[in-house]
C-alpha cells in the first residue's frame, strides 16, 4: 500500500525527519508513538502534501510516487489526514464544504457528482452514526464546534471520502472518554481489508480502542523501534526516555 524509504524533511534548514523507513500493507493498522518534537506531525503533513517542507527520499503509494502529487491530488488518490487541530473556516458552511470535497474526489475518480438531495441523504445517515446533529452540518466549518465535535467531523469526512490510507494525527487529544469511544467506534467501523491506517499518538489510551497491528516508536526523526501492540503498553510504563539521546 505505502512504502516510505529514507524520508527526510526539513523546514528552514532544520531537519525534522532524518531518514524514516516505513512500509504499511493493505488493511494494516500501524501506530506511531513518540515524544514531543520527534517529528510525528511533520510526518503526517509530509504524507498529505502540505507545502513548506523540503522533502527528500521516496514515498510509494500504490506504485505511484506520492511526492510528485500535490495535496488535493493525494486526497483524490485516497489519502486522508485527520487533523490534530481541525481548522475553523468562518463563512464556509459544513454541508457545502463536505459536498464540494466529496464531489471533487468523486469527479477525479470518474464517478458522477452527487446532487444536493442525494448528498444530503448520505451525509445525514453517516452523521447520525457519529452522533452529529443536522444543526451542526448547517454551521460554518468547525466554527464554535467543541473539541469532540471537531474530531467527529473529521471522522465524518473520512467516512464520506472512503480513503484507502488514513493518517490520524493525535485524534485522541482533547477528547473525553465518551467522545473517544464515538471516534474509535467510527474508525473501527471503517476498518477494512482494503484500507490502511497510520495512527499517530502520544498515549496508549487510543490504542485500547483501536488495536494496531504494529507499533513504531519515532524519535528524533527516525523510527527507532517496531513491535506489536504490546510495545505501546511498555511505553506507557517506561516512557520515551530510553529512546531519547
Amino acid at each position: 500500500m505505502i512504502d516510505i524509504k529514507n524520508l527526510r524533511a526539513s523546514v528552514d534548514d532544520k531537519e525534522i525527519l532524518k531518514g524514516l523507513n516505513l512500509k504499511i500493507g493493505k488493511g494494516e493498522v500501524h501506530a506511531i508513538m513518540g515524544p514531543n518534537g520527534s517529528g510525528k506531525s511533520t510526518l503526517s503533513y509530509v504524507l498529505s502534501g502540505k507545502e513548506g517542507y523540503n522533502v527528500e527520499g521516496e514515498i510509494k503509494f500504490n506504485k505511484k510516487n506520492l511526492l510528485e502529487l500535490n495535496a488535493e491530488e493525494r486526497a483524490r488518490e485516497g489519502i486522508f489526514l485527520a487533523f490534530q487541530y481541525p481548522i475553523e473556516i468562518p463563512g464556509v458552511f459544513t454541508n457545502n464544504f463536505l459536498r464540494t470535497s466529496l464531489n471533487s474526489v468523486r469527479k477525479a475518480n470518474g464517478k458522477a457528482e452527487l446532487n444536493a438531495i442525494d448528498f444530503l441523504k448520505i451525509v445525514k445517515e453517516k452523521a447520525k452514526e457519529l452522533n452529529i446533529g443536522e444543526e451542526m452540518l448547517s454551521r460554518p466549518l468547525n466554527v464554535g464546534f467543541s473539541g469532540g465535535e471537531k474530531k467527529r467531523n473529521e471522522i465524518l469526512q473520512m467516512s464520506l471520502l472512503e480513503p484507502s490510507f488514513v493518517v490520524m494525527d493525535e485524534t485522541d487529544s482533547g477528547l473525553d472518554i465518551d467522545a473517544l469511544k464515538i471516534v474509535s467506534n467510527g474508525v473501527n467501523s471503517l476498518r477494512d481489508p482494503e484500507r490502511s491506517f497510520l495512527i499517530i499518538t502520544h498515549y496508549q489510551r487510543l490504542l485500547n480502542y483501536i488495536k494496531p497491528d504494529f507499533v513504531h516508536v519515532l524519535s528524533d526523526g527516525k523510527i527507532v523501534k517496531t513491535g506489536d501492540w504490546k510495545l505501546a503498553l511498555d511505553l506507557e510504563d517506561e516512557g520515551y526516555g530510553q529512546f531519547i539521546n
Partner: protein, 416 residues
C-alpha cells in the same frame, strides 16, 4: 486653481432653461457659488485624503449635463419577482406615479423640500446646483409593504452626457415598513460623472431595508450620498454590494435621533483591476439608547484600491449608546491598496463602543485543510473568499435578497 469656466457656462445654460421657482433657483445659485469657491476636493482636505475621486474629478472640468434621447430599460434587466419599479435610464427618471394603498411614488419635483443649508461638501454642492431628476417615496403610517420597491439605474450604450445628478427622498411615516432594492447597470462606455443624493426620514417605529447593488462599471466616476434621520424605535438596515467599480465614493451620514433606533450598515467591496471604491460613513448617536453596527468586508485583486472611513460619533447626551464597527480586508495581490480609518468620537461616559480593522491574505492553513479534502487550490481559495464575503450577506434579513446577493457572489466567482 482651475477657473471652471466651462462648468460655469453650463450652469448658466442649465438654470436659464430649468423650470423652477425663485427659491429653488436661489438655492441652486448659492450651492453653485459654494462649489466654485472651493472647487473640486483636494487630497489636502482630510475628508477627501484617500478618495479616488480627487484624481478623477479633474477629468470633469468640462462637465456637461445634456440629456440623451429617450431609451428604455431592456426587459431582460427587470427583476422577475413582484415589485414596484422606479426606472432611471441615462440619468432620466421614467416614472408613472404610483399611488397605492399607503404608498406614493412620484417624481420629486419639489426639490425645495431638501436641506437648503449651503453645505461644506463640494460634490454635494455640485449635486444641489444641478440635480434635476429624482424620485419621492412616501409611506403613510402603518403601511407595511409586502412588495419591494426596485430602483433601476440604467446607463445605456447611447448615453452621451458627461454628467448627471439626482436627488431623492424616502419618507417612512410612523410604523411603516418597506424594502428598497437599488441596482445600477452600466452599458455605456464613455467617461461620466454621476452624483446622487438620497435623503431618508424614518418616523417612529418605521423600518427601511435598503439593498444596493453597484457593479461592473468601467468608465464612470460616482458619488453617492445618503443621509438618513432615524426617529424613536425606527430601524435602518442598509447593505451595499460594490463589485468592480471604476471609481466611486459612497458617503453616508446617519443620524440616530430617537431612543431605541438602530442603524445596521453592512457593505462588501469586491474589486479587481484598477477599480477604486471608497466608503465614508458617519453615524451620529444624538440620543440615548441608540444602537449602530457597521460591518464591512473587502476582497481586493490585481491593483484594486479600497477605502473605508467609518466614524461613530456619540453626543454627550447619548448615554447607553451601543456602537459597533468592524472592517476586514483580504489583500489578494501585492499591488492592491486598502486604507482604513476607523474613528470614534465619544462625549458620553456610559457607552459601549467597539471597533476593529484588519487586513491580510487568505489563511494558508485553511487552504491546506480544504486541499487535503480533494478540493483544488483555486476552488479552496474561492471558497475562502466567498465565505469571507458571505458573512456580510448573512446579515441581510430578507431571504429573497440574501439569495440574490449569494447568487451574485457565486456568479462572480464562476465567471472570472
Amino acid at each position: 486653481m482651475e477657473n471652471y469656466n466651462e462648468i460655469k457656462i453650463n450652469f448658466e445654460k442649465f438654470i436659464n432653461t430649468f423650470k423652477t421657482d425663485d427659491n429653488d433657483l436661489e438655492f441652486r445659485k448659492k450651492s453653485f457659488a459654494n462649489f466654485i469657491s472651493k472647487g473640486f476636493p483636494i487630497s489636502r482636505d482630510e475628508n477627501w485624503k484617500y478618495s479616488p475621486l480627487v484624481q478623477d474629478l479633474k477629468k470633469f472640468s468640462h462637465l456637461n449635463n445634456k440629456k440623451t434621447g429617450i431609451n428604455a430599460l431592456p426587459n431582460a434587466l427587470k427583476e422577475n419577482f413582484d415589485h414596484y419599479s422606479i426606472i432611471f435610464v441615462d440619468g432620466v427618471l421614467i416614472l408613472t406615479d404610483i399611488n397605492d394603498t399607503g404608498l406614493v411614488i412620484k417624481k420629486n419635483n419639489s426639490f425645495l423640500k431638501s436641506v437648503k443649508k449651503a453645505g461644506e461638501n463640494p460634490i454635494l454642492n455640485l449635486n444641489n446646483a444641478f440635480a434635476d431628476q429624482g424620485y419621492l417615496i412616501e409611506l403613510s403610517s402603518n403601511t407595511i409593504l409586502t412588495r419591494p420597491i426596485v430602483i433601476y439605474n440604467y446607463f445605456s450604450k447611447n448615453f452621451l452626457s458627461s454628467f448627471c445628478s439626482s436627488k431623492n427622498f424616502i419618507l417612512l411615516n410612523e410604523k411603516s415598513n418597506v424594502v428598497v432594492y437599488e441596482k445600477t447597470i452600466y452599458d455605456s462606455s464613455i467617461e461620466y460623472l454621476i452624483t446622487s443624493n438620497t435623503e431618508i426620514f424614518l418616523a417612529k417605529g418605521s423600518k427601511l431595508k435598503k439593498y444596493d447593488l453597484n457593479c461592473n462599471n468601467k468608465h464612470s466616476t460616482i458619488f453617492n450620498f445618503v443621509k438618513a434621520n432615524l426617529d424613536e424605535n425606527s430601524e435602518l438596515e442598509y447593505f451595499t454590494f460594490s463589485e468592480n467599480i471604476n471609481s466611486c465614493r459612497d458617503e453616508s451620514i446617519i443620524n440616530l435621533n430617537g431612543k431605541n433606533c438602530f442603524a445596521n450598515v453592512n457593505a462588501i467591496q469586491l474589486l479587481r483591476n484598477n477599480c477604486n471604491h471608497e466608503i465614508k460613513l458617519q453615524i451620529n448617536h444624538n440620543e440615548e439608547h441608540t444602537k449602530s453596527s457597521q460591518f464591512v468586508k473587502s476582497a481586493l485583486y490585481d491593483s484594486a484600491n479600497a477605502i473605508f472611513q467609518g466614524k461613530i460619533f456619540v453626543d454627550s447626551k447619548a448615554q447607553k449608546t451601543d456602537g459597533y464597527q468592524l472592517s476586514r480586508a483580504l489583500l489578494l495581490s501585492d499591488n492592491v491598496k486598502f486604507f482604513s480609518k476607523p474613528e470614534l468620537e465619544i462625549y458620553a461616559d456610559d457607552v459601549k463602543c467597539s471597533h476593529g480593522s484588519s487586513s491580510g491574505s487568505v489563511d494558508e492553513e485553511s487552504i491546506f485543510y480544504l486541499r487535503s479534502r480533494g478540493i483544488s487550490k483555486e476552488d479552496a481559495k474561492m471558497m475562502m473568499i466567498n465565505g469571507f464575503l458571505g458573512e456580510v450577506i448573512e446579515k441581510i434579513t430578507e431571504d429573497k435578497f440574501k439569495n440574490i446577493f449569494f447568487n451574485k457572489l457565486d456568479h462572480y466567482s464562476n465567471h472570472d
